[in-house]
C-alpha cells in the first residue's frame, strides 16, 4: 500500500558516494561565456594564503582575503576586504568595503562601509561612511563634503602616520590643562 519510491535509492551493494565529475579543462573558455562568467573574470581576488608587502596599485575591483602590508591604491574601483583579509596599509580607493581587519588609514572618494564583524583601527576619510552594528572602529571619521582627496602613493609611505590637520603638540597634561592661559585658548586651528 505505502510503496516507497525506489527510483531515488541507490542499488543495493552500491556506494552512495557521488560519482566523480568529469575533469574541467582550465583555461579553455566556453564558446559563449555567460554574463556571470564575464563578471567573475572582472573581479580579482587575493587569496587567504597570499601575503603582499609593498605598494599595491590597480585599475579594477579587488577583493582581498589575504594579508597586505604597505599601500593599496584603487582610485576608481572598489576594494573589498574579505572576512579573512588582514590589512596593515594606507588604503585609497573609490569605495572600500571592510569585512575583515584593517589597521591603517582609509580614504575613499565615494564610500567606506564597515560591515558586521569588520574592524578598522585608523582614520577614515570619505563623503559617506557606514558602520554596521557589530563592527569595530577606532579612529577618526572625516566626511568631507567634496570627496576624499587621495594623496599620491609617493607622498604616503607604507606605515606612515596619517596626515594630521594640526601640528603635533603636547597631549593633555593631567590637572594642568584647565589652567591654560587665554592666549593659548585663542588659538583656533581648523580641522
Amino acid at each position: 500500500m505505502w510503496k516507497r519510491d525506489e527510483a531515488v535509492r541507490p542499488a543495493s551493494g552500491q556506494s552512495a558516494a557521488p560519482q566523480p565529475t568529469p575533469p574541467v579543462t582550465v583555461g579553455t573558455p566556453s564558446p559563449t561565456p555567460s554574463a556571470s562568467q564575464k563578471l567573475e573574470s572582472d573581479i580579482v581576488n587575493i587569496g587567504k594564503s597570499v601575503v603582499i608587502k609593498g605598494e599595491l596599485n590597480g585599475s579594477e575591483d579587488l577583493t582581498i582575503e589575504g594579508v597586505v602590508e604597505g599601500t593599496i591604491q584603487l582610485r576608481d574601483h572598489v576594494l573589498t576586504i574579505g572576512p579573512n583579509g588582514r590589512i596593515q596599509a594606507q588604503v585609497f580607493a573609490k569605495a572600500v568595503i571592510v569585512l575583515g581587519q584593517v589597521s591603517g588609514n582609509i580614504a575613499a572618494t565615494e564610500k567606506i562601509d564597515i560591515r558586521d564583524n569588520g574592524s578598522v583601527d585608523g582614520d577614515i576619510v570619505s563623503p559617506r561612511v557606514a558602520i554596521a552594528e557589530g563592527a569595530h572602529f577606532r579612529g577618526s571619521v572625516d566626511m568631507q563634503r567634496k570627496g576624499a582627496q587621495a594623496p599620491s602613493a609617493s607622498a604616503q609611505k607604507p606605515g606612515a602616520q596619517p596626515p594630521q590637520a594640526q601640528p603635533p603638540e603636547p597631549a593633555v597634561a593631567s590637572g594642568s590643562a584647565a589652567a591654560k592661559p587665554p592666549a593659548v585658548a585663542a588659538q583656533r586651528v581648523g580641522a
Binding site: S140, D142, S174, A177, A191
Partner: protein
C-alpha cells in the same frame, strides 16, 4: 501560568544575558542634544570626541549633517579591558595618558553616561582630561542616572535626530558605580559651567557643560 510566572518570564526576556545582542529601547526625547548640536553647528569644521562605541547613525548624523570630524575613543572598552585584566587600580593613571589630542582642540565631547561607571579617582582623572581637551565655548554632553546601580549593562546611545534618541543595552563587566548628586557632577568639572540640565521622563539626567570663552 500564574501572574508571578509571567512577571518573571517578562523580566528574564527584558534583561540582556552575557554575549547577547544589544537590546533596543524605545525612542526617548532629548532636550540637551539639540543645544549640543547648536553649539557644534555654530563652528566651522567642528571636532567631536565620542567616548562611546562607534555607531553608524551617530557618525552619519554628526559627520554628514553637521560636518564634524569625529574621533571615536571608546573608553567603555578600555574600562572593560581593565576589569578583565584586574588592573582597575591603574585605570585613573591610564586615563591621564589616554588622549593624545592636544589641549583645547575639541569642540564637542559626547561623554554619554561613562562617568556613572567610574570610581571617584577615575572620574576625576577623566573629567580633568576632558576639560583640558575642550576648546573655549566648546560643549560636553553627559548623561547621569538617577536610579541606584542594579543592572550590569552599558547603554549604546543612538541619535535619531536632534530631538530624539534611543539606547541599546549590552552586557557590562560591572554596572554603574553610584548615583552622583548634581553638586558632585558639577565639582568634577570645575573649569566648565553648566549650560543646561534636564531630567528626562526616563529618569536620565542630561547635563550640558560649556567651557567659558576665556578658557576656564
Amino acid at each position: 501560568m500564574g501572574l508571578l510566572d509571567r512577571l518573571i518570564s517578562r523580566r528574564a526576556e527584558s534583561e540582556p544575558g552575557p554575549g547577547s545582542t544589544p537590546r533596543e529601547e524605545p525612542v526617548f526625547a532629548t532636550k540637551a542634544l539639540r543645544k549640543f548640536v547648536a553649539c557644534l553647528a555654530s563652528r566651522e569644521s567642528p571636532i567631536l570626541l565620542d567616548l562611546g562605541t562607534a555607531v553608524g547613525s551617530n557618525v552619519s548624523f554628526f559627520g554628514d549633517h553637521l560636518g564634524c570630524k569625529i574621533f571615536v575613543e571608546n573608553i567603555y572598552d578600555d574600562l572593560e579591558r581593565h576589569i578583565a585584566g584586574g588592573t582597575l587600580d591603574a585605570f585613573p593613571d591610564f586615563l591621564k595618558t589616554r588622549f593624545t589630542r592636544r589641549v583645547q582642540s575639541v569642540d564637542g565631547i559626547l561623554c554619554w553616561d561613562l562617568i556613572d561607571y567610574l570610581d571617584r579617582r577615575s572620574a576625576i582623572a577623566l573629567s580633568e582630561q576632558l576639560s583640558g581637551l575642550l576648546r573655549p565655548e566648546g560643549a560636553l554632553l553627559g548623561f547621569f542616572g538617577t536610579a541606584p546601580p542594579r543592572d550590569r549593562f552599558y547603554s549604546k546611545y543612538v541619535v535619531v535626530d536632534a530631538l530624539n534618541m534611543k539606547h541599546q543595552a549590552y552586557p557590562a563587566a560591572r554596572g554603574r558605580q553610584t548615583v552622583l548628586q548634581n553638586r558632585d557632577i558639577i565639582r568634577l568639572f570645575p573649569s566648565l559651567r553648566v549650560s543646561d540640565s534636564f531630567l528626562l521622563q526616563n529618569n536620565l539626567r542630561e547635563i550640558l557643560f560649556r567651557k567659558p570663552a576665556w578658557g576656564g
